[in-house]
Structures are given as C-alpha cells and as structure tokens.
Symmetry: none
Subunit: 417 residues, 2 copies
C-alpha cells in the first residue's frame, strides 16, 4: 500500500514551526507497512492545497492530511479534501455531537463558528478527537482514502493511535496485503547511539527480515526490530530471537519496550517494591516531578517533590548541614547524598531521590563547569551517587539530568528487587 | 519571486529525523522576500527526486534542494539536479580544489569516492562549504535556478548565510523584485483561537499587506502580522498600525511578542517587581517549576516550588487547615488560597502561587470532574483565585493548568505594577 502525507499550514510553509507531525505520521506509516514515496507541505491556500492533495491522491492508496481543521476561515482542509475528492461538504450529526459534547464538558459556550468543525466531505467517517475540539474524518472513494487530522500534535497523535492505525491496518487487510509488519522497540538509556550501534553492529547491517535500526532521542536510544510476515505469529517468531540477542548484549541499559516511558517503568518498580518516594530537585526545577506525575496513579508512591533552588531552602526543607554547603558547595556528592537522605527522612518516605547541578548558562567555574550534575538515591539502608557532565544548553542539561536521575532510581530498584 | 524547497533523504521521508532544514530555509526565503507556495520531501531515489525537482522547477523561479550531496552512492542529488535541468554532470576543478583543501586541512587522506563531491551539473556555480566536505552548487538556466546544499544543518546554515542569501537578494534585484518580508507575532493566552479570530475578524480577512493570521498552540494562540515592502523601514511602517489595533482589541491577553515564552515574561515581571515567588503544585506535579526554571537567572526570584500531592503534605508543608480539607476537599477554592498563602508565608516569599486539581484519568466525581482545577495567587495584601475545567487527557490537563497558572500570576503582577 502506498501512502502520502500532506501537511497544511502557512506557519509550516514559512518555517515558523517545524513539521514534527510529518515525521510522526511517517513513522506510523512505516510501522504499519505502508510505503511513503513523497511528502508535501502547502499553506492555508485552497487552490494550492487542492493541487497538492490531488497530486497525492493520484499516486497513493491513502493520503494523510494534517492541519487546517480548526474553526477559523483559514482552516481550509475540509473544503480542500472535498475539492480533491470531488464531493460536497455536509454537516455530520455525529461530528456535531462530538463538538457540542466537548464544549458542554468544559462548561464553555460554543461559538457559532465552531459548527464549521462538524462539516465533512460526503461519504466520510468521523474520527473522534479525545483531547480537543476538532474531529477528523476519513473520506473513501474509488478504492482510495483521504484521512484528515488536526495539526495540534497532541490531538493528531491521540487520534492516530486510537483510530488511524487500526484503520490503516484494516485497509491493508482488505486489499489482500494483509501481511503484517510487526515492530518491537527496545528503549535504551545510558549508552549513546554510537555505543548501541557498535554493540549491535552485525544485527544492524545486511539483514532484511527482521530489520534492525537505531534512533536517537533525548537521553535515550530506540532500537527498532521490524519483521514482515504473512501473519502475526510468524512475525513474532522472526522478531523473538533477534530481540533476545539484542537484550543479551544491551542488558539493563534497556529500560522498557515499545511505548513505555522511563517514568512509567520507574513508577511500576516503586509499586512492586511497595516503596514510597520523595524527591528533592535543584537544577531540574520540577522536571522529574512533572515526568513522574504524567503517570496515572503515581500518588500512591510519590509523597512529595521539593524544588529547592537556594541553599537556605536546602537547609530548611531537607536539613542539609551548613558545613556541607560551605565546604563542598551545593553541587557536590555530599550535598546530593544529604538531599536524598533529608527529603526521605522528613517526608517519612522509603526512598529519597536528589538532583543538584549547574544548568547554565551562568554559574560555571573551571572546577565545576556548566553541565556538572550530581544525582543520589538513598533509602532502605543503601545509597547511590553519580556524577555527570552533560553537554547542551540549559534545557538540554535539565532534560538529560532528569533522564539520568530517573534511570539511577530504576537501576537502584532493580538491584534491590 | 517564487521559490520552492525540496528536501531529499530517506531518513526524512520515514520520519526518522525531523526536517529542521526545511523550516530554516523557509524562514530565509521569507526574510529575503521570496514567496514559497509548496514544499516537497523525497527519499534517496533518483527517479522520484527528479520528479519532485522538475515539478518544483516548473512552478518556481528558484528551487532550493537540501541533502544527498555526500560521497556515498545513495547521495543522488547531483544526478537529480542534472536530470531535472537536462544537462550533464562535469567535474569542477574549483569544487575539487575545495574538497582536497578540506582533507589537507584535517590532515586526513581523501578517499577516491570523495571525488564524486566535485561533480556539478554543467553551467553551475560552486558554493563553498566552510564547515564540511561537500561543496554546494547553483545551476542556472532559462531564467531559473536550482541551488543544492548539503543536509547537515550546520553546513547548510553556514552556506546559506554566507552565499545563498546574497545570491537570492541579487537575483531578486536583477529581476526588479527586491524587498523584505517582516513578521511580528503577538502571543495570546486565555481566549481560544475562535475568540481571537472573532476579535480580529476584519483584520484577518480581505487584507493583503500586511496579512494577519492566527495559529493555535497548547493553551495559547499566536497572531502573526506579515508585511512586504521595498525595505525594512517601510515594512515596519506597514506593521505598526495593524499591531497597535490588534493590541488594542486583545489587550492584556497578549502576553508577549515573537519568540518570548510565557515563563520568560513572568520571570521578567517578577524581577521588575522585586518579588520573590514560592509555588505549591498539586496536579501539575512540577511542570510550573520546570517551565519557570527554563528561564536563565530565575534563581533570583524563585525561592522554592513544593509538589504536594497528598493532603498530609499540604498540611505539613503549607499549613493547610485540616478543616478546609475535610469540609471543602483538596480541590477547592479555599484549599487553593490556603496553599498559596501557606507556601508564601513558610518560604518568606512575597508571592505564593498554588495549583490544585484533578488531572485524571481517575479521581473525578459528578461535582468535581476530571479537569477541574483551582489556581490561586496570594501576596502583598492581595489574592486572586480562578476555577477552570480543562479538557483533554492527563497530560493536556497538566499543561493547560500550568499555562493558566503562569498567566494568572502574570496578570496579578501587571495589575500590581
């Protein structure tokens, strides 16, 4: 099956925002076994968008369109798809219900212009939007389909996961191209991409089924193993030995699989250990807490997270000894340990996690450069401390520190279990 | 002048990397006054890349191509441009000199395959690469041009700054179409995109210079005003009255301009008010602290940020009265106020900001649904409380809550100043 992505939005075309949706949708297409040969971007211009979607429709089985589904007049995607498909727009009662229900739930008044969002090209199926206003739609005709999704990444991704992926799989099955492509992702944190590549060298190259590829993320590397087979069982049988071999080599640097996040793995380990956690953050400024609280049900195991920027707050909240601060400084191994012990003791938690470092751009010295970070875990009669020097700007240092802190906690919990 | 960007690379097409070059080149085109109507991406495939470049050449004065200039066999861009232009490839002595000089400078041996990088389509000018191996080239014919640049962002950007920008300006001058395009972005938080559009209706429509457009982000809307004029001064003169009128209508819903973030504006206001802030977060879990600490120098004005998930922690750290919790619950106006007052008092800060809500997916009731959030600011003899019901999943509720909390603080500081 051939698919083509068309992203619509003047802000994309002018480079005011980077097109992350196109990359996301491209990865999804590849994961469900569709071939993508071209990608196009156009502005919020009816005529040129019709030109692009028509060109895509002429050479693809499925066209994925993102952007331009909002309530305003420069949101032209409904008209564009109708124009390219050669059908009129109709008000969908189902879509209108969804838009109205969204506003009812928020207790906000629906503007008349919002009704526009319930228009779909004749012959379309409505795609529910679980996180925003604008529903999407999938138009079908002549054995081809155009799937339209909103441009807000959180909405596009939620709708793709819940609706578009099964839809694409079903279409491929109906077209008799029901071979499956199955992927397994090993999520690795700690070693960089070059090190992962070196460890897996012979698995990465000269292998066509399953294929193995690595992708770098922030503070992590993903190893994707992809098998193509007539059915799921056969695909799994191809995946399994390669996955086992990759795991054997990467060991506990693999923190999780597929869509798991590091924070969800950590919360899971805390639950299994019946351990209650308290966190003290300095340079990460709340980012560790933010990530942990993205996991539903975290309140069972997170007692509190204290963002203690100043020395004074470190002493008052965590009982860090003034001598440690004067002798070693706030960015030091003894301070990280005292913070981890202090936050756990004061919160009556089983475990304490602490992060202290210099995120920059200011504050660095020759002996304590920007990017220097100490991490500590303490609890249940044991401690761990780590020293890192991270590259990148302030936000990169914060992200890498939070990632390394969660990973330190993960390895601590694994060893204790 | 019309220009079109074509990016070449299988890793772009499959979404393995996000196409930041396309956004960079698009901003450059807009800055030098070229119109871009379409953008295309293709893989490392000769036939399809020729198809894309030919399509672009047929509808543009200049085509910018990036990627595929390396030494390996899947670097097809030289052949592709020659194919689309209908001319043969030739070894350029000038390009070969540059490639050889690069290797000499590094003291490395040049592989035979590197000679490929000195091939250019007949009739091309060579574009020096100050930071890498592969020179670029600009082919010209029939009044049109194709400019080819490497895909490595640092190389592409250096060559664009030093060579491509003057080249494009010179071409526009020769065509008698010199000019600049200038944009101003108003960043709005609070009202949704439909409400902003309604307020600006007559500015948004039927206007060609400057143009006005709105774009939705998470919890914010951007209004972009774009003017085209012979020079920068004339462009500014076109922008100013429209910007003033938009500001008059949107008033303090406009929190900032261009690349400013809400958190940077808040930190700036705190500094100007010489106000030290303490934050108590429940449902946002550290996200407000994370955003504030993305701003360099925040330590001057952020005393601490306490993530207090449990009732027990709210009492212990903030002194919230047990009766408030039993009578009104943790997600209530009295609790939000007590949290804001408590965190400020205990930290001896000038201002306290508090967020308490139900991020979901569990924990909602008919009277207190998922998405219900109370925000409070207290300090300097004044308080503000707000109640919101946010839509979306757990992460969306957290994001929208953090955005609204920072905005509440911003408006509090504006009124106090």
């Amino acid at each position: 099956m051939r698919a083509e992505i068309v992203t619509i939005g003047t802000e994309l075309l002018l480079g005011q925002i980077v097109d992350t949706n196109a990359a996301y949708l491209a990865r999804i297409l590849s994961a469900v076994g569709y071939d993508a040969h071209f990608r196009q971007t156009v502005g919020d211009n009816y005529q040129r968008a019709v030109e692009a979607v028509s060109l895509a429709l002429g050479r693809s089985d499925v066209v994925l369109v993102s952007g331009g589904l909002g309530p305003t007049e420069d949101d032209v995607t409904r008209e564009v798809v109708a124009g390219a498909a050669g059908v009129p727009l109709e008000l969908s009662a189902e879509a209108l219900d969804q838009v109205e229900a969204y506003f009812r739930r928020l207790g906000r008044e629906m503007l008349a212009s919002q009704r526009r969002q319930a228009l779909v090209p004749r012959g379309s199926r409505v795609i529910p939007n679980p996180v925003g206003t604008a529903p999407g739609f999938a138009w079908e005709g002549d054995g081809r389909a155009i799937v339209a999704l909103p441009g807000v990444p959180a909405e596009l991704e939620a709708m793709t996961r819940s609706w578009v992926v099964p839809y694409l799989q079903e279409r491929a099955r109906r077209a008799g191209q029901s071979g499956v492509i199955l992927s397994r992702v090993l999520r690795v944190t700690g070693p960089g991409e070059a090190a992962v590549e070196q460890a897996l060298q012979d698995l990465l190259h000269g292998r066509s089924n399953p294929t193995v590829a690595t992708y770098a993320g922030t503070g992590e590397v993903h190893v994707r193993i992809t098998a193509r087979a007539p059915d799921e069982q056969a695909a799994r049988a191809l995946l399994a030995p390669v996955e086992r071999e990759a795991l054997r080599r990467l060991r506990d640097a693999v923190y999780g699989f597929d869509d798991q996040t590091l924070e969800s793995v950590v919360v899971d380990l805390l639950r299994r250990a019946s351990a209650r956690l308290a966190v003290a953050e300095s340079c990460t400024g709340g980012l560790v807490g933010d990530r942990l609280t993205n996991v539903p049900g975290v309140s069972e195991c997170l007692v509190e997270d204290l963002v203690v920027y100043s020395n004074e707050a470190k002493m008052r909240h965590l009982g860090v000894d003034a001598r440690i601060l004067s002798e070693h400084g706030a960015v030091s191994e003894p301070c990280a340990l005292a913070m981890a012990r202090g936050v756990a003791a004061r919160a009556a938690a089983d475990l304490g996690l602490a992060i202290t470092g210099i995120a920059g751009p200011g504050g660095g010295t020759p002996t304590k450069p920007v990017g220097l970070v100490y991490l500590a875990v303490a609890g249940r009669g044991d401690t761990r401390v780590e020293r890192h020097v991270f590259g990148g700007d302030r936000i990169q240092v914060k992200r890498r520190s939070a990632q390394a802190a969660l990973d330190l906690l993960r390895r601590f919990l694994l060893e204790a279990s």
